[in-house]
Structures are given as C-alpha cells and as structure tokens.
C-alpha cells in the first residue's frame, strides 16, 4: 500500500516537473543576502515575461557561488565582491564583468549601544567595538559581506578585534540570529536587515559611510571554458538587467517603502 | 540387507571443539535407532551429519541416494504464514510445482490429523500442534528415513503421547527412524536399537532388549550408569 501511494505520488510530481522542463531555463549562482532580500522574486518574473527564460537561483555564500561558477555548475554569476569577481575574469572563467547595482552595508548592534559606535564612520565604530571588547559576530565565510568587514578592520589597522569577536562561519541570517540573541554588533547589508524578522534588541547604529558602499556585479560563465553553459540565455539576462527596463525593475523594489538596491550599470564600478 | 547409511571413522569439529570422534555406524532400512547420552554428547550433531546439513571434518559417510531423509527438530520453526504454506514449502523446495506441493501438503496434514488447521497462522499453534505440523512437513517429502532431534522434549504429556503415536504410526508403515531422546521410556517403547554416545564417541550400540535388560559389559559401564541415573 505504502509502495503504491509512493509510486503514484512520484509519478504525479515527475509529470509536473516534466511539464516544467519544457520551458527555457538557466542557473544563476548568487548570494544568500541577495536572494533573502527578496529582490529576485521581484526581478525574475519580469525577466521571464520579457524573454520567456526561467532563472533558477542557487543562493549560497559568495565564496561557494564563485566556486560553483568555477566548476561550470552555473550559467550566470551575480555576487557582490569586486576583487573576487575581477580575479575570476582575469583567470578566464568569465569574458567580462558588468556592474549592475549597489546598496550599502550597515552596522547593527544593541539599541543601548554599550560601545558607543553610533555615527557615520564605520572604521571608528569598529575601533570602539574592539576597545570595548564588545560582542561582535562575524560571518567568517568568504562572503562579500565578510570580505567587506575584513577590509574595514584592516583599514582600522586592528589585528586585535577585542575579546568579544566571534566568527560563526555562517550566512547573514544565522549571523543576525546569533547577534540578536547575544546582543552583539554585526555588519550586515541593508537588504537582509530590512527583511530580517528576528531583530531582538538590535538596531542600525552606523550607516551612510561612503566606505559602506556595496557594489554588485554580474557575469556570464565562460562558454569557452564550459561549452555546455547556456551562454545565449545568460547574455540575455545581463543585457536585460543592465538595460533601462531591468534597472528600473531594480529601483522599483521596495521593502516597507524603502528602496533596497540602486541601479548603476554602465558606470565604472 | 543393504544399508541406508554407513559412517566410517567420522569426526566432526565445531571450530576447535571436537563434537564427534571416530564414529562407525551402519543403519539399515526399517530400523528404529535411538541415540541417547548426556547433553553435549553429540546426538544432535550426529543427526545433522546424517541429514546432510553438516559435513564431516574427517572420515566418511555413504548414503543410499535412492532413499530420502527428513529431519524434525526439537522446536520446530514455522514462518509467519499459514500452516498449509509452511508444509507445502518442503516439497516445493525439493522441486515440486507449487500447486502439486500444496496438494501434498494437504494430504500430509490429513495424515497427522490437522486438516482443520490448514489456513490457521502457524505462529498461533500450540507446541504439540506445531510439532505435528513439523511431522506433516517431513512426511510431505515422503521420506524413507525420519530423523528426530528430541521431538517430544518441549511438549506437555498429552502432546508427547500424540507425537509418539505419530512416530509409531510412521514406523509401522516401514519408515526408518533415527531419534535422539532423553526419555528412556520413549526409547523402550519405540526403538529397536540403542546407540549410547559420550563425548562424541559411540560407547554402546545394542539391540534395545539387550541394552536395557542384558548385562552391558565393561565397555558399557558408563552406559549402565547413565541408564541407571536416568531411570532413577
């Protein structure tokens, strides 16, 4: 009986999936923060309407996304770590990199701000965190956010980040979860923060610093290196997302009335 | 008279433990041989060697291949299925087609008086009923020799009598019996010949009357003591 039921169920879903396979699809490796912000749920249906291509988003940490693309397991790469992206192009894994949009990072922490970081200067803020030995949760997972955070510490010239500094080796959401439950400081991108529900006592404490600028880039995975890559579809996606239509779609995405991402394709970013 | 089986200098070892030593034995068709001895003397091992599920470590065993044997165990095993299925299994495993096997099974159940239980779940039977099913299962093979390993040891007195009656019934129709038993009364009632084993060796091999009533001689001193102990 159990067997019959299972077989029926499997066939039903296989049939449904079979139907879905008939349409044009491609795989996009992107980051958890981008997907969790909800941007893709807003953007991709419009792209599908315009071109008939369904994009399958695999959202992992930036490091893993780039590794995936390095293996040829994705057609398009959409991440936010310029240094890593340029290295990727230099190594021949992608013909070129297109800047597409930006947002910013913010430093969140407990509302009562024991380390007195509140302000507009991220480097000063981190110095104060270290000085106060305040609890700080770092992602430590080679993500774009993690790379940015490590950059800021370097700019602060600090090797010793205080005794409260902890690396969780996890995504943005889990890091914020840990931060919320231990009243710690966390560097996060605004998009994830705006859609994050488990805030506890945390609030934005440092924002607006030019250095907190977070650039996103998009690339086709090289069809030279990986002949099976759906290069035509991938290029269509890039063409669309950097076109006025795509850029408008990005700008129109709002959470609680606030715009999360700012289109800047065609700039020298 | 040609023999059913002949053992010469037969040894059997379970790993490093020697269970049978230098057994010389000849069994003729129609005999009713009782194997007796203390626990661990090798009766069960000898029965299994006679059945063919154990192969000797040394020595030889020669069987008349025209004669078939079947082994009935002390605690018979039945699968979680109907009694009919369990009995039909035996002829089916020997190559009969399932329908023919079922027919033979029905006949066998009739022979032991258990036709009514054919469709009952075998696990739901009492000890005595199950042992009779085991007899049916053995009989379904139409064996020439019936080997039995303490067939009534786990049964209550009523069931014991029923099973013994079956044994006597089978024997009277010409079947050769070789049975291990602790029950000397049973041995007296059913056997024509007694083989006494101790620590894997045959110490006495005599007609039943001689064994129980005649002088046993020096070599069978142990047998005498055993018999006295068991009868006491």
């Amino acid at each position: 009986m159990k067997l019959t039921r299972r077989i029926l169920c499997a066939f039903a879903l296989a049939a449904a999936a079979g139907g879905a396979w008939a349409q044009s699809t491609m795989v996009m490796a992107s980051t958890t923060s981008t997907e969790q912000s909800g941007l893709f749920n807003h953007l991709l249906p419009e792209f599908a309407k315009a071109t008939g291509i369904t994009v399958k988003v695999v959202a992992v940490g930036t490091g893993q996304a780039i590794d995936m693309a390095r293996r040829g397991d994705a057609d398009v790469l959409f991440v936010h770590d310029r240094a890593a992206e340029e290295k990727y192009v230099a190594e021949g894994f992608a013909p070129r990199r297109y800047p597409v949009m930006y947002n910013d990072f913010v430093l969140v922490g407990p509302k009562n701000d024991p380390a007195r970081v509140r302000g507009k200067d991220i480097v000063q803020g981190l110095k104060k965190v270290a000085a106060a030995n305040a609890p700080f949760i770092s992602r430590g997972d080679k993500s774009g956010t993690d790379a940015a955070e490590k950059r800021f510490w370097k700019q602060a010239g600090l090797d010793n980040r205080g005794s409260g500094y902890k690396e969780c080796g996890c995504g943005m959401g889990p890091a914020l979860n840990i931060g919320a439950s231990s009243n710690a400081y966390v560097l996060t991108d605004r998009g994830t923060w705006l859609s994050f529900k488990n805030r506890g006592e945390l609030a934005i404490l440092v924002e607006g610093d030019k250095r907190l600028f977070n650039q996103y880039g998009v690339m086709v995975v090289s069809p030279q290196k990986f002949p099976h890559v759906k290069a035509a579809e991938a290029q269509k996606f890039i063409d669309w997302v950097t076109s006025p239509a795509g850029q408008q779609a990005i700008a129109s995405y709002k959470v609680n009335g606030e715009q999360l991402f700012f289109p800047n394709a065609g700039t020298a970013n | 008279m040609s023999a059913w089986v002949q053992l010469k200098g037969l040894d059997f070892n379970y790993g490093s433990v020697c269970a049978l030593r230098g057994i010389d034995l000849r069994i003729a068709p129609g005999e009713r041989v009782a194997l007796i001895g203390a626990n661990g003397c090798g009766k069960s091992t000898l029965l299994r060697v006679l059945d063919g599920i154990l192969r000797p470590s040394a020595g030889s065993i020669v069987r008349d291949v025209r004669m078939r044997q079947a082994l009935v165990f002390q605690r018979p095993f039945a699968l979680r299925a109907s009694v009919l299925f369990n009995v039909a299994l035996a002829p089916w495993l020997r190559g009969l087609r399932w329908r023919a096997a079922r027919e033979q099974a029905r006949e066998a159940l009739g022979r032991v008086g258990l036709e009514a239980l054919a469709l009952r779940n075998a696990r739901a039977l009492s000890g005595g009923q199950l042992q009779r099913v085991a007899f049916a299962r053995a009989w379904a093979l139409r064996p020439d020799v019936l080997l039995l390993d303490e067939p009534t040891a786990s049964l209550d007195p009523h069931a014991k009598r029923e099973v013994e009656a079956l044994m006597a019934d089978f024997a009277s129709s010409g079947m050769t019996l070789v049975f291990a038993s602790h029950n000397l009364g049973q041995v007296k009632r059913l056997a024509t010949r007694v083989v006494y084993l101790e620590q894997g060796r045959v110490l006495a091999d005599l007609p039943v009357q001689t064994f129980f009533n005649g002088p046993l001689g020096q070599t069978s001193r142990e047998a005498e003591l055993f018999v006295k102990g068991e009868l006491g």
Partner: protein
C-alpha cells in the same frame, strides 16, 4: 513559549489557507524521499538479506564498514554527490545537478547503507535462530534470505520506515545537490533551514510541525492498513474459506 504558540497558530493558518507553495513543497519532499526510499530499499533489502545469510572470509570487515556508513553525515553525502554531478565532475554530462534527480540520487546513497545494515541484522538474527531448519528443508542461501526476510516482514517494515525517516528529515544532502531553488528543488527541510536563517523562526517551526504531521499521517495510514489486513486474514482463516 511565545514562539511555540505562534508557530502552532502559523501552522494551522498555513494549512487552512491551503497555501499552494506549501503544498508543492510538501509534495516534493514526499516524492523525493519516497522515490529515493523505494530505489534504495530494493537494493538494500536484497543486499542486506544476502549479507545476513552469506558466509565468506572478509564478511566481518564488510559488516563493520557497512555499519560505519550508518553514521555518515548527510552533508558529506551531499558534497560527494555534488562533486560527482558537477559539470567538472565525472557525471557532469548527465546535467542532473540542482534537479529532482540529483536530490533522489543523494538520498538513495544516504539511505542505502541504513537499509542494508538494518536488514542484515534482522536477517542474520533470523538465520541464526532458524536458518538450520530451512537449510534442512533444502533451502539454499538466496532462498533462505528471501524466506527469512518474508518471515521478518514486520521488522523490515520498521526498517523501511527508518529509511524514509532518514531521507525526509535530512537537509544537508538535498541542500547542496538541489540548491534549494524556489519552485524547483525546495523541500520542507531546506525551506525550514531558509526561514530559520531569515530569522522567521515561527514560520520555520510551523513548517516543521506540518512536516511531522504529514509523516505521522503516513505512518498512521500504514498501521491502519496493516491492522485491517491482519484482521481480514484472521477472519478468512477462522471462517475456513478455501484458499
């Protein structure tokens, strides 16, 4: 306590609304794990049954290694299958990565050792107790393993349920090889992981409750059918109907 109450309310709400996305994810979970279980258990029962009865020199070592695979983390299985199915890997040409097929493949590899090891133990115990009698009736190794497996079928049903449980509750393998792609490879466990990482804990817990309830329903259904079958057979036997 607040979160638990909220989750319960959320779960009831989701079910009452007949949320289409939820239904899709639940159906996908059941079919991925169901298909994987069927596939793995066909091999596992045969292999385990054979191992339970077979005797050969390296058997002890084989059993020890097999039992070790009971403890393999699902994420390791996922990683191995990912590397095999990756475009840069040996089976990349199949194009199975990030699809239903990849998830089933990973769960088959995860569940196969469980089914084999547990079946082996069940059949081996049965063989030790009763193998001799079946042998005496003339049953060779393969037939014995089949007969003993049939005899132990209720224990083996529990083994199948354990395998299904292992498959449907794991998240590591199915996340890596499936990619948790919305509308394509998202299953209950990856959805729960996602909602947890997004900080929506009540929703995550609600999904967990729904998953458990679905599996509970499945098990209850099986138990009822077994009871009905058993009662039916008894009735037939007692009525003395001819087979």
């Amino acid at each position: 306590m607040n979160t638990f109450q909220e989750s319960l309310a959320r779960a009831l709400q989701l079910v009452a609304q007949g949320d289409a996305a939820l239904f899709e994810i639940v159906a996908r979970s059941l079919s991925v794990s169901g298909v994987a279980c069927i596939g793995a258990c066909i091999f596992g029962l045969a292999l385990g049954g054979w191992l339970g009865v077979a005797r050969f020199p390296a058997r002890g070592a084989v059993v020890t290694v097999l039992n070790t695979f009971l403890a393999i983390p699902s994420v390791v299985v996922g990683l191995v299958v990912y590397l095999l199915l990756s475009r840069s890997g040996p089976f990349g040409f199949l194009g199975w990565l990030f699809s239903f097929k990849a998830m089933v493949a990973a769960q088959v590899l995860l569940v196969l050792p469980v089914c084999t090891a547990l079946t082996r133990q069940v059949v081996e115990d049965a063989e030790r107790a009763n193998g001799e009698q079946l042998q005496s009736l003339g049953a060779g190794g393969v037939l014995r393993s089949l007969l003993l497996a049939f005899d132990q079928r209720y224990a083996l049903v529990t083994v199948l349920l354990a395998c299904f449980g292992r498959a449907i509750s794991e998240v590591g393998a199915v996340m890596i090889v499936g990619g948790n792609i919305e509308g394509f490879t998202r299953v209950m466990t990856t959805a729960i992981a996602l909602e947890t990482s997004k900080g929506d804990l009540p929703l995550a817990l609600a999904l967990g409750l729904i998953l458990l309830t679905v599996v509970l329903g499945l098990n209850a259904g099986i138990a009822l059918i077994a009871r009905w079958r058993g009662a039916h057979a008894e009735g037939l036997a007692l009525a003395g109907a001819s087979a």
